[in-house]
């Protein structure tokens, strides 16, 4: 562990830090970490909004997020600093998409798009839509200038950084080439793929039905005008993510699969020149007692019959040492690849964090303050 230490306190307190994005695979405590960082910054006197994706029920309650309303609400708590404020919201993907359509269109056209059956597919189940909308919402919030700091959670992407790719994927899907070819397969298309395409088109029509293709074609026509606007906006969001005031943190637990994902995230962020602050290694188990494995095991053996409680306490210690050894092994493998990436370890809490004191405890472990 010769690597650099990620010191999050100064990052979160710095007035120049406007956006913090947490990313990582599912189930590593990303949402909780985002909430803890936001609370810490509010306690430090900043006006903070935390944008969550799918918080655990009790955490959502702690943040006053009983309902999805797609706008940040002030969390009704006392923060340590009189100027500090904590706001929170839970992303509503569909509504964010609706709002984006409305912002780039006339009311009549927007109404026609929202009514198209195909819009439902795109706005809810197109892969990457949730990631896209998280970034869209971030962009909107940042533009209001209402907050000193926005901490944003990202969906547990299947592939690393879907949120960077989703706008591009959506627009290449929607540029309509395929849809136009399928809707009117006779024009020019034959030259490209020959008779196979006609067969394919027939097959697709048989499988999906003609109505769906018509809906899709109409949808693309309605959408066409907006694309320029969407692309510009996606480009602006991309620039925002690369701006000096943005910091990315990758969250991982100390297990092979999760660290592999973290590795992808780190590499990809660097390749895109995104400002990566470092890695949060969540839920680690550093031993709290200084007693070697050999001594512990020898004593445990002696005590098995005599004092079951002491033997149990010592076995807990042995298991912790073993867990720690495995963690250090994992971490060493990661560090070898990412030698200069700052890392902070956050020792595990015994219980799930779902109230403000627990969030503050995590923040304390995160920042070392």
């Amino acid at each position: 562990m010769t690597g650099r230490v990620l010191d999050l306190g100064p990052v979160l307190a710095d007035r120049r830090t406007k956006i913090v994005v947490t990313c990582g695979s599912g189930g590593v405590g990303k949402t909780t970490t985002a909430a803890a960082m936001a609370l810490w910054a509010a306690d430090a006197g900043r006006k903070v909004a935390v944008l969550t994706i799918d918080p655990a029920k009790r955490l959502a309650q702690a943040l006053g997020l009983e309902e999805l309303d797609n706008d940040p609400r002030r969390v009704d708590i006392d923060v340590a600093h009189q100027d500090g404020q904590l706001w929170a919201m839970m992303l509503d993907t569909r509504r964010t998409f609706d709002e984006m359509v409305a912002a780039h269109s006339t009311p009549e056209r927007a109404a026609a798009i929202l009514a198209n059956p195909f819009y439902k597919v795109i706005s809810t189940s197109f892969s990457g839509t949730q990631e896209y909308m998280a970034m869209e919402k971030l962009s909107t919030l940042a533009a209001t200038g209402q907050f000193d700091l926005i901490v944003v959670d990202t969906p547990p992407s299947r592939s690393a950084l879907d949120f960077l790719d989703a706008p591009q994927r959506l627009s290449s899907f929607m540029d309509g080439r395929m849809i136009k070819m399928l809707a009117t397969p006779s024009r020019g298309v034959m030259k490209i793929v020959g008779a196979g395409f006609a067969l394919f088109s027939k097959a697709v029509t048989t499988v999906l039905g003609g109505q769906m293709l018509q809906d899709a074609a109409q949808f693309v026509q309605l959408f066409e005008d907006m694309f320029g606007g969407f692309r510009e906006r996606a480009q602006a969001t991309y620039e925002l993510l690369r701006a000096a005031g943005t910091k990315f943190v990758v969250v991982s637990i100390c297990e092979a699969e999760s660290l592999r994902e973290a590795s992808y995230f780190a590499d990809r962020l660097r390749a895109e020149h995104m400002p990566l602050a470092g890695l949060i290694l969540n839920r680690t188990h550093p031993p709290l007692a200084d007693l070697s494995l050999g001594t512990t095991e020898a004593a445990t053996k002696k005590l098995q019959a005599k004092s079951a409680v002491t033997a149990g306490v010592l076995t807990i210690h042995s298991e912790r040492l073993a867990a720690r050894a495995a963690e250090l092994h994992m971490r060493a493998r990661f560090d070898r690849v990412h030698t200069d990436l700052p890392v902070v370890e956050v020792p595990a809490l015994p219980s799930d964090a779902h109230d403000l004191p627990a969030l503050r405890e995590i923040a304390r472990r995160l920042t070392g303050t």
Partner: protein, 344 residues
């Protein structure tokens, strides 16, 4: 409390957990929240079922190549490959279903598309079709599973004794398995539609059973309970809840309770340590007591979670937290633990 009394819950044989319904089923669908170890458990179940010389197919449907990583083999192509030999000489084969390939397979079968299919794939035509109708994707994936379950060899016996499917996570599994719903995306006639009808029959028959993998933590338990309710409403047979990475209690119930409250008797602990040849100072005592407290809080929280799961009336299988989990050795170890609990 019931669970902490059962100190050996993770290891003791609970033969009743693997019910007649489980033994009767031939398609085992494994779901769970992301991060619960769904793929590892699916692989362990396949290995456990493959003991005694049986042949089991492990199917992956999310194009993540999780099985290949787990068994430490190169990425799986769209064909069935042997990945492991089980104790007793059985065999696990694996298949990573590729939606594009599956769709082209259908088209080739019904429309004689031949090699034109490949150029269509390059153009993104298949991705386009499955995006347009997400239900089509699910129909294709479950359709492929059905084909492997019902396939017969030249001796007219099923090629696979059992098929284990590493299915999408709890949040999506009901949509995935509810092929009837997906069919509304499709034209009302045609080969895929009639194929889908056959899939519906299989999934709603005693041949299919869904198991849920969970950790003993709030979020996964909540999602598991929601998924169970949803699966039952949809008329899908639910088998076991498979608890993964459970903490084995290392203190007796009374000591656990005390330790969780931070009330472990330190003078007794100090005396005990001296008996064991360790001269404790305050710092050591405090550290050990805090570790014991954290362990105990964790165990008691897990007991609460377990009670919520038990209330579903479903049989529970329990797997321990492995220090070096996630590798092939771990899969074999978990398979043994499943076998000990009656999985066969």
């Amino acid at each position: 409390m019931t669970t902490t009394d059962r100190r050996t819950a993770g290891t003791a044989a609970e033969p009743s957990s693997w019910t007649a319904g489980c033994r009767r089923a031939r398609l085992h669908v494994i779901t769970g929240k992301g991060g619960t170890g769904k793929t590892t458990v699916a692989a362990a179940l396949a290995l456990a079922l493959a003991s005694n010389g049986r042949r089991v197919l492990l199917i992956e449907v999310e194009e993540r190549q999780g099985i290949a990583r787990l068994f430490d083999v190169p990425p799986l192509p769209y064909e069935e490959r042997k990945v492991a030999i089980a104790t007793g000489g059985g065999e696990v084969r694996a298949l990573a279903v590729d939606v594009e390939a599956a769709l082209l397979e259908y088209f080739a079968m019904f429309y004689n598309l031949g090699f034109a299919g490949r150029s269509l794939k390059k153009m993104g035509a298949v991705e386009f079709a499955t995006t347009l109708a997400p239900g089509l994707r699910d129909v294709l994936l479950t359709g492929k599973a059905k084909e492997t379950v019902t396939r017969r060899g030249s001796d007219n016996k099923p090629v696979y004794d059992e098929v284990v499917m590493d299915a999408p996570p709890t949040g999506r599994v009901v949509t995935f398995l509810n092929v009837t719903g997906a069919m509304s995306d499709l034209a009302k006639r045609g080969p895929i539609h009639s194929q889908a009808e056959g899939v519906v029959r299989l999934l709603h028959s005693p041949d299919t059973i869904v198991h849920l993998v969970t950790l003993l933590e709030d979020m996964p338990v909540t999602e598991t309970l929601e998924a169970i309710a949803h699966l039952r409403e949809t008329g899908l047979q639910v088998g076991n809840i498979i608890i993964n990475a459970a903490t084995e209690p290392l203190l007796a119930p009374a000591a656990l309770k005390a330790a969780a409250k931070g009330q472990l008797d330190r003078s007794k602990l100090a005396a005990g340590l001296r008996d064991g040849g360790i001269e404790p100072d305050e710092e050591l005592l405090a550290g050990l007591a805090t570790q014991a407290e954290e362990h105990s809080v964790r165990v008691l929280d897990e007991a609460d979670c377990r009670a919520q799961l038990a209330a579903t009336g479903l049989p529970l299988l329990t797997l321990p937290r492995l220090v070096d989990g996630g590798d092939l050795g771990g899969v074999y170890e978990l398979a043994d633990r499943l076998a000990e609990q009656g999985v066969r």
